[in-house]
């Protein structure tokens, strides 16, 4: 449903061609991180701290090193010193220095001729620890008696007198808060908590690294960003970035968790120490859960003021988030900025604290921070709508952010599509389905900024007129299809005539990772510009052959043609004809574009979920689910729907089941998927989707980016549905059966 007059009627954009990676994936031909091997390859294993916080007294690898086939053992002593800032954080997280900061923190690694031998050798490496007091919970980590994880970490923003574990403080807002709350008919405040959850990608981290004593190296790795891998590994190893060539593999899920490094420098350091032999390092699931980035856990206070007609008059949020033992890893800034972004409220105030805890270094996870913020704000909004007897969707529409309104985080919104999204939601048939006993319906809105970023794309015309596009953004959600489609649309050729390759770091200028829902937006924008450049060259070649001015040639339906009768009478020259003779008409034809892409447009969504809660067990069954979201323009609607499905499913898991469970000893208790349970197909209904299209004026095809917003509304939508079904309000995630049952019983006892 396009909502403006940007060009429509495309040949390819908006259609649903076959997935370019489909056959490779279903036949097992796709090569993932662990599928890459090289002659002479060694296998690595990592020794990890069994303690949440412990001083490393001594590491003795002598028993491992005498094993036949063990080629190298590394500790922090094999890495350069003197790093600062985030580089130091990355190095410290890759391999502990003096202190292990969380359960699973790497302290040593070994390379051997087989994986089993490497694992045996790792068990023979003796590490003597002095166990230190630890803290896991974000609120506990702020208390005066909490153990100090790393004194002196806090940045300039933290007011004096805070606990040393508080390392960042953020404060922003506008309007007269006191007057706003005074103008309200109903003011309510509540506290909400969310546990850390993992991105849950099915493919564990895996890489093959090779590095010689000269600092030249190669790496094959599953990643969302090969240039980030290159820069971060080089910083940690003290080598030059350009001397490391990084090739991304096919990727089995990332969701933000593969935008950084965790163990990749270990493979390179082991290779360097083992005489340059390639080293493969593949994480187990337990290693992924213990030592790669989950998202933050959060503790959040929200206060809202509302008039009797649903008008929001004031809002105040105070969020505390821990992102592990490293500053800058929690998404508290993003969470604050997203918290109230769906609404136009005259007075808002945001306050946030980043806190260190003895947990793994958090990584980005799909709309970082926004789902937790939405859980808190959208839950309280729902409670107040119920208290005032108001339709929760109508209240969201009444207060909805619109073009020209001041965003809660400061600037004025440009063209956005929340109103259209809410209107499409209210018109959907799912809202009219009658509900039975123990069933309830919940709604929520969600927001994500989206992103542009550093982007470099090349495009080459083949000798037969087919086209190769080289991009630097790994395909985690269908971008090879969308980029191929936009390229084909621009060139006027069939989609099947375009192949999109994700290339290594030597092939293009620096690209940011696929993050911030930017691949289809930013690489798409660059691919379109590269195609236009190639079109210009092809028109010039045709003009030269025809002996007319290049300006007298236009590009129509995949061919150069005289622009009007005055240009001369020549039959159109197709891209295939131009490609066939380019060697004798001036040489290869290509296009290239590089940009730090601006012009990205925010995406809003609204979800509606119906649940049934078993009053005997507290188990929640999702009966039906609706995702409505503004895509700007859906280049390949099936992939867009896939992103909507995926966001909803991850959100359902986060809401109902997923959590990091720590023992009193600070060790992670649920390190396999049997115990850390993500939703599977049998847990889910068919998910309905509506793609709203309010094109982004900052993109040639109107793209906004769709990957992240979809995970934002499910957490509160589920909480609101469970409250509607049971009368019990859960303000802590996950809403697992024991917690739901306890809330139902408390409600029955008059405590809820």
């Amino acid at each position: 449903m396009p909502k403006d007059d940007l060009k429509t009627g495309y040949r390819i954009v908006g259609t649903r061609p076959d997935r370019p990676d489909g056959l490779d994936k279903v036949t097992g031909r796709a090569r993932y991180g662990a599928d890459i091997s090289a002659p002479g390859m060694l296998h690595a294993a990592v020794v990890r701290s069994p303690h949440a916080h412990a001083r490393i007294i001594r590491i003795d690898a002598s028993k491992a090193l005498v094993l036949d086939g063990v080629k190298a053992v590394i500790t922090r002593a094999d890495f350069p010193t003197g790093l600062t800032g985030e580089d130091w954080n990355l190095q410290e997280n890759t391999i502990a220095g003096d202190v292990a900061l969380y359960d699973g923190h790497a302290v040593a690694a070994v390379a051997a001729t087989s994986k089993l031998l490497a694992q045996d050798a790792a068990r023979l490496i003796e590490v003597v620890y002095e166990v230190l007091p630890h803290v896991i919970d974000v609120d506990a980590a702020m208390q005066p008696d909490a153990p100090v994880i790393r004194a002196g970490t806090a940045d300039h923003s933290v007011p004096e007198g805070m606990h040393p574990n508080v390392v960042k403080y953020i404060d922003f807002g506008h309007g007269d808060l006191e007057a706003g709350f005074a103008a309200a008919d109903l003011v309510r405040a509540q506290t909400y908590k969310t546990e850390a959850t993992h991105q849950g990608y099915i493919e564990p981290h895996a890489c093959l690294g090779q590095m010689g004593a000269d600092g030249k190296g190669e790496m094959w790795v599953c990643t969302q960003g090969q240039w980030y891998i290159r820069r971060m590994c080089s910083a940690v190893l003290g080598t030059d970035a350009s001397q490391l060539r990084v090739t991304p593999s096919e990727i089995g899920g990332g969701f933000g968790g593969k935008t950084t490094i965790f163990m990749e420098p270990l493979a390179l350091a082991l290779s360097r120490k083992a005489g340059g032999r390639p080293v493969k390092l593949v994480m187990s699931r337990a290693e992924v859960l213990r030592a790669t980035g989950p998202t933050a856990s959060a503790s959040m206070d929200v206060k809202l003021g509302m008039k009797a007609d649903g008008t929001l008059t004031a809002a105040q949020v105070n969020f505390r988030m821990q992102g592990g033992a490293f500053i800058g890893s929690s998404p508290v800034g993003e969470a604050l900025s997203c918290a109230l972004a769906c609404y136009t409220i005259p007075a808002v105030h945001h306050e946030g604290y980043e806190v260190l805890a003895n947990r793994p270094k958090a990584a980005a996870y799909r709309a970082p921070g926004s789902p937790m913020a939405a859980f808190a704000v959208e839950s309280l909004l729902d409670e107040m709508c119920r208290e005032l007897g108001l339709d929760p969707l109508a209240v969201r529409l009444k207060n909805a952010a619109r073009e020209g309104a001041k965003a809660s985080y400061g600037p004025t919104y440009n063209r956005i599509g929340l109103v259209e999204t809410l209107e499409a939601t209210m018109a959907h048939a799912n809202l009219k389905v009658p509900l039975g006993p123990n069933q309830g319906r919940g709604v929520a809105s969600g927001f994500w900024f989206n992103h542009g970023g550093e982007t470099s794309v090349s495009l080459a015309i083949g000798e037969d007129g087919t086209v190769t596009v080289s991009v630097g953004t790994p395909d985690i959600g269908g971008s090879r299809a969308s980029l191929g489609m936009m390229t084909a649309e621009t060139l006027g050729i069939p989609y099947e005539a375009v192949r999109v390759n994700i290339v290594e770091t030597g092939a293009l200028g620096v690209n940011e990772p696929t993050h911030g829902s930017r691949a289809t937006f930013a690489s798409g924008l660059a691919a379109v510009e590269a195609a236009k450049q190639a079109i210009k060259t092809m028109c010039a070649r045709a003009a030269a052959e025809w002996g007319i001015d290049a300006d007298a040639v236009e590009w129509i339906d995949g061919a150069a043609a005289p622009a009007g009768p005055n240009a001369g009478k020549f039959p159109p020259m197709s891209i295939a004809e131009i490609g066939a003779k380019m060697g004798s008409t001036g040489g290869p034809i290509s296009g290239h574009h590089e940009v730090t892409a601006g012009g990205f447009g925010a995406s809003f969504g609204a979800h509606v979920v119906d649940v049934e809660v078993d009053p005997e067990t507290g188990r929640t069954t999702v009966l039906r689910y609706l995702v409505v979201q503004d895509a700007g323009r859906a280049i390949h609607p099936a992939y867009v729907e896939g992103q909507y499905h995926g966001g909803a499913v991850q959100g359902i898991g986060w809401a109902l089941n997923e959590e990091y469970v720590y023992g009193a000893d600070g060790r992670l208790q649920n390190t396999v998927f049997l115990d850390y349970r993500i939703p599977v197909a049998s847990d889910l209904p068919m998910i309905d989707t509506v793609i709203v299209e309010v094109p982004n004026p900052g993109h040639p095809y109107g793209v906004r980016g769709v990957g992240e917003t979809g995970i934002t509304p499910p957490l509160p939508a589920l909480a609101n549905a469970i409250a509607a079904a049971t009368g019990a309000r859960l303000r802590s995630l996950p809403m697992s059966p024991p917690k739901v049952l306890a809330a139902i019983k408390a409600k029955a006892n008059g405590q809820g």
Partner: protein, 80 residues
């Protein structure tokens, strides 16, 4: 003068102002003028901020800014 809106947490590093007027023709000049006038802002600028000009996040330091533009410094956003 370009009027730069700071997030309120920065106020105490900018003589209690949330809107700081600076002479600048580009984003780079705007940031330079801000930190020249209020050196305590430098750690925050160096740590990374996003600059919003008329509702768009601008990443090009050479991008123009004019007195009539709406300019905000906001938290740097990382995506997943």
């Amino acid at each position: 003068m370009v009027k730069v809106n700071l997030w309120s947490g920065l106020r105490r590093f900018a003589a209690d102002q949330t809107v700081v007027p600076v002479e600048a023709r580009t984003v780079r000049e705007m940031l330079d003028a801000l930190t020249a006038a209020h050196p305590a802002l430098l750690p925050f600028i160096k740590a990374g901020v996003s600059v919003s000009v008329n509702g768009q996040i601008v990443t090009d330091l050479n991008a123009p800014v004019a007195p009539e533009d709406e300019v905000y410094l906001i938290q740097r956003i990382k995506g997943g």
